[in-house]
Subunit: 182 residues, 2 copies
DNA sequence: CTATTTTATCGACATTCCGTCAATAAAACA
DNA sequence: TGTTTTATTGACGGAATGTCGATAAAATAG
C-alpha cells in the first residue's frame, strides 16, 4: 500500500489560486512577458513570499501549467492513435479541436520553450505512430520527423496566434494537402 | 536635392555602441529575456539614461536591429527571385546559407514578434514570386501562402535553435521533399 | 575665431520588482 | 488538549526601471 503523504490544504489552495490568477491575467494581458510575481499574488490574494514557497519563478509556474495541460492533451490523443488510418482526417480534426478550445491559452504558452518542446514531441510521436501503422508502404524519400514536427509546430503557432479565424476543418485540410504526396 | 539634416556624431556613436553591446551580450547570454538596459549601457560604456534618449525600451532597440538585418537579407534575396526556377535548389541553399551565417543572432531574434512577422512576409513573398513565375501549371489543390509561410518559419526556427548541426544542403533537400508533389 | 544656442550625456531620485529573512498563524499529530 | 510541523506573512536589501535638472559637447551666428 502506498502511504500517500497528505498535503497541507493551505498549499493546495495556494497553488490553485496562483494558477487561476495566471489564467485570468493571461486572459486580460495577452502577453506572458508582462507577468510579474506581484501581479500574480495580488490577483491570488496571497503574499508575494508565498509564491516562492511553491514555485522557483514565473517560468517554473508556467512549466507546471504546461505539464498539466499536456497530460490532459495526451490523454485525448493517445486513444486516437489506436484507431486505424482510415480515420486520419477525423483524428487530425479532433486534435485541432482540442487546441482550438484552448486557443487563447495556447497562443500565450506557445511562446514558452517547454511548451514548444512538449507539443513537438507529441506531434512527432503521433506521426511516428502513423508511420508504424502503415507498415511497409512508406514513401522512399522520407521527410525527417524533426522537419515535419517543426513545420506542424509552425502551423499551429500561426493558427493560434494569427489565424484563429480559420476552422479546425480548414487547417486539417491544408495540412493534409501539404503532407500528402499525390 | 535633399537637405539631409545632419545628425549629432555623439548620437550616431551612442546608437552604434548600444547595438554592438546587444550583439556581444547576445553572443554570451544566449537569451534575449536576460537583457537589461543596465547591462547594455554598461557594456556600451554609456549612462543608462542615454539609452532612453535613443530607444523607448529594449524591444524598440531589438525592433530596429531586426529591421536593419532584414533590409540586408532582402537585398540578397530579391535578386535571387529574378532567376528562373530551374535554379530553385540553389536559390534555397543561398537563402539558408545567409541564415546559417547569422544563426546565433537568428536563434535569439526569432523569438521576437517583429522578426517572425518580417521573416514570414519575406518567405511568403518569395513563394508567391515562384508561383507567379511558374504561370499556369499550378497544382489544383493549392496550399495557402499562410500555411506554407508558417511551416517554413517553423522549420527555420527549429533549425537555428535546435538543429544547427544540419547543413543548409540537408535542410534545403528536406524542404524540397516536403513541398514537392511527386 | 569667439559667443551663443542647441542638444547629447550624465548623476541622482522615486518607484517597482525581486529573493529571502525571522515572526506568526494554521494544520497535523501524539 | 498540548505539542510539533509547516504554510503564510510583513519587512529588508538589492537591482532594474523611467525621468528629472545639471553639465558638457556640438552646431551655429556674428
Amino acid at each position: 500500500m502506498f502511504t500517500m503523504k497528505k498535503e497541507d490544504p493551505r498549499s493546495i489552495r495556494s497553488r490553485r489560486m496562483l494558477k487561476e490568477a495566471v489564467f485570468t491575467l493571461l486572459a486580460e494581458n495577452e502577453d506572458v512577458s508582462q507577468l510579474t510575481v506581484q501581479k500574480i499574488t495580488n490577483r491570488a490574494e496571497l503574499n508575494r513570499a508565498t509564491f516562492y514557497l511553491h514555485y522557483e519563478d514565473i517560468n517554473d509556474l508556467l512549466r507546471q501549467i504546461v505539464h498539466e495541460i499536456f497530460d490532459e492533451l495526451s490523454k485525448k490523443v493517445d486513444p486516437l492513435l489506436k484507431i486505424p488510418r482510415s480515420n486520419e482526417h477525423e483524428q487530425l480534426v479532433a486534435f485541432l479541436d482540442y487546441i482550438y478550445e484552448y486557443r487563447k491559452l495556447f497562443a500565450v504558452l506557445v511562446e514558452h520553450k517547454g511548451f514548444k518542446t512538449s507539443l513537438t514531441n507529441l506531434l512527432k510521436k503521433t506521426i511516428q505512430a502513423r508511420r508504424d501503422a502503415r507498415g511497409e508502404d512508406l514513401p522512399p524519400n522520407l521527410v525527417s520527423l524533426d522537419i515535419i514536427g517543426a513545420s506542424l509546430l509552425g502551423i499551429i503557432m500561426w493558427w493560434v496566434k494569427d489565424g484563429i479565424q480559420f476552422s479546425s476543418e480548414y487547417v486539417a485540410e491544408q495540412i493534409a494537402r501539404l503532407y500528402k504526396k499525390e
